[in-house]
Chain length 138, copies 2
C-alpha cells in the first residue's frame, strides 16, 4: 500500500455509500456551499480498487490529487492515469468515473459546482471489466 | 526550515509581486475561471516571514493549508495560527492577511471567487510590527 510512512492531510472521513461507489471510498468535507461559494469541496479517499460509479456533473467538477494515484476516465475514451499533484477540470454533463487503481489508493480534493441545487447525477457502477481495462492499458 | 525531507505536491511556481506580498511568496496556478468555475484556484507558498498585504475579496476565498503553518488575521482580531489540514472560509469584504510565520513556511491552496471580474482589492503591507505581534501572541 502506498500510504505507509505518510501522514494524511485530512481525516479520512465517512464511508461513501456503495449505491454510488464501488469498494471503500471516504469523504472528509472541507467547505460547504454558501452565499459566496457556488460549490462544495471535500477530500475523497479511494482505497485500492475503489471508484465512483459512472456519473455526470451539471456544472463540472475540479479534482486535485493530493495522495497516491488512480484513474479518471470519460465514457468512450481511454482512462487517464492521475497522480499526486495532478488537476482534472471535468466538463459539465460528461459521463465519467474516477478512483484508485488495482495497486494504489488515491486521495483527491473535489471542488464540485452546483447548478441550482444539483451537483451530480449518478449512473451505473464501473464494472470490474471496465476497471481492469483501465489498469491493464499501456 | 520545516520542509526538509518532504516532497511538495505542486511546483513552487512564479514569485508573487512585492507590490502585494512581503517577502518571498510563489503561485502555482491549478485552475482558471471558466464557464463552470466562478473561481480560480492555485497553490501559494510563503517562505518564512512572507505574507500577503492586507486585502479584501468581494466574494470571499477558501484557503486549504497543505504544507507547513502560518497565520490568518482579520483586521481588529487576533491572528489565528493555521497549519497543514486547516481550512479557512474567508468572508466577502473583510480586511485580512495570511502568510507564513517567522519560523515556518506555509503552502495553501486558495480558491478565490470572482464577483464579476474582481477577485481581490489590495491594501497596505502588513508591517513588521503587525507580523511580530501575530508571532508573539500566546
Amino acid at each position: 500500500m502506498d500510504k505507509v510512512n505518510t501522514i494524511s492531510l485530512f481525516p479520512k472521513g465517512e464511508k461513501l455509500p456503495n449505491e454510488w461507489f464501488t469498494g471503500e471510498a471516504f469523504l472528509s468535507p472541507l467547505v460547504s456551499k454558501d452565499k459566496n461559494n457556488e460549490f462544495s469541496a471535500g477530500a475523497v479517499t479511494f482505497e485500492i480498487d475503489a471508484r465512483t460509479n459512472w456519473h455526470t456533473h451539471p456544472k463540472g467538477q475540479v479534482l486535485i490529487v493530493i495522495e497516491g494515484s488512480g484513474f479518471y476516465q470519460e465514457k468512450g475514451k481511454a482512462a487517464r492515469a492521475i497522480t499526486k499533484g495532478d488537476v482534472v477540470n471535468i466538463p459539465e454533463n460528461v459521463e465519467h468515473w474516477h478512483g484508485a487503481s488495482a495497486k494504489t489508493s488515491m486521495t483527491h480534493i473535489a471542488i464540485t459546482n452546483f447548478k441550482e441545487d444539483v451537483q451530480v447525477t449518478w449512473l451505473k457502477p464501473v464494472t470490474n471489466e471496465e476497471f481492469n481495462q483501465a489498469n491493464n492499458q499501456k
